[in-house]
Symmetry: C2
Subunit: 228 residues, 2 copies
Amino acid sequence: MKKAIVLFSGGLDSTTVIAIAREQQFQLYALSFSYGQRHSVELDAAKRIAADMAVSQHVIADIDLTTFGGSALTADIDVPKHQIATDMTDGIPITYVPARNTIFLSFALAWAEVLGAQDIFIGVSSVDYSGYPDCRPEFISAFQQMANLATAAGVEGSQQITIHAPLSELSKAQTIALGTKLGVDYGQTLSCYDPEANGAACGYCDSCQLRKKGFNEAGIADPTIYRS
Amino acid sequence: MKKAIVLFSGGLDSTTVIAIAREQQFQLYALSFSYGQRHSVELDAAKRIAADMAVSQHVIADIDLTTFGGSALTADIDVPKHQIATDMTDGIPITYVPARNTIFLSFALAWAEVLGAQDIFIGVSSVDYSGYPDCRPEFISAFQQMANLATAAGVEGSQQITIHAPLSELSKAQTIALGTKLGVDYGQTLSCYDPEANGAACGYCDSCQLRKKGFNEAGIADPTIYRS
């Protein structure tokens, strides 16, 4: 079996990506980050899901993005409620974490090189990407090109790194429909930017609203527990 | 003054780069990493030099590259002595840290985005690069292209990120000659992969040998304190 690194937050998208990579017969290496996000509830969800989905190894890398600040998710800024920014004309949302996917993919690349893996999966979508520049297909493609120049494997020509973004062209509803078909238990996944300690979602942040809308459009019952 | 991030290890090359960026009138933001390298002597040297060279801010970001292993500099492998690998035909040296420059530049990109800086300096050389794939000009150029797609600034078109690699075409001797002209005190810099706790260099590792050869070829007295 070929090995694949999957960037994995424990959220709806990256859990679907694990199911997709598993369906494609990859041996799974899930990579999560502890990066000064406000809630470790997210990492607890990731650990449970990784165990349930039988990944070969789940690594949680500690990185300190609070050093630089600059985002509602890492600095002391309130997470905005009742606001969805779905396209670039609204500018970059305050929940954007500077260069986050670049950093995450760089760590995935390091692990891929150590494991001798050629495949990295990331759950970005260019449909529901809320204005994050590092979710666009042109970014993923540029990262792949850079990765093949960055690594020993690229130099030796023995293998090429592929960055897979299987949700890139899917709406949230399409992602949910696909994951449901692949057996994903979305009740375990956590999307909320501001969850309760017990894992209940706020229901109002960008991420909760996209998730609700997705289940609604897919015509699938939303198993999420929202704060009452 | 324009702000620049300088990737800064406290070694000979990155200290020269600080002097170059200072000469070009940039306001300096130095970024070092604590990444499970064997010696914190290196970071102590970096702190002293950053203070001496009047950088505006010096951040040491904690990242855990030992999670993945795979290099003599982060894993429990002996640093090789009496061996210099100066070209690719010898393969990748054991001291290569997988995807290290990709990770370092990604963090620099995050900080640049927070500061609104457009310029990132890195002290790689394609002349004395010891077979590291992520020191080649084509890697630097691919990273820059990716960076401009990764960031909010790139999307808004308000600014472009430039990755400066001013030592790229310089031999170690040329770097030392340039730095000496710019007033660098090389006695403070540390290049050794395996220094004593007091900062004395081993004199035998790849990095020590390249450094000795550089001073010798430049005809400049080597101020390094070597282990007796």
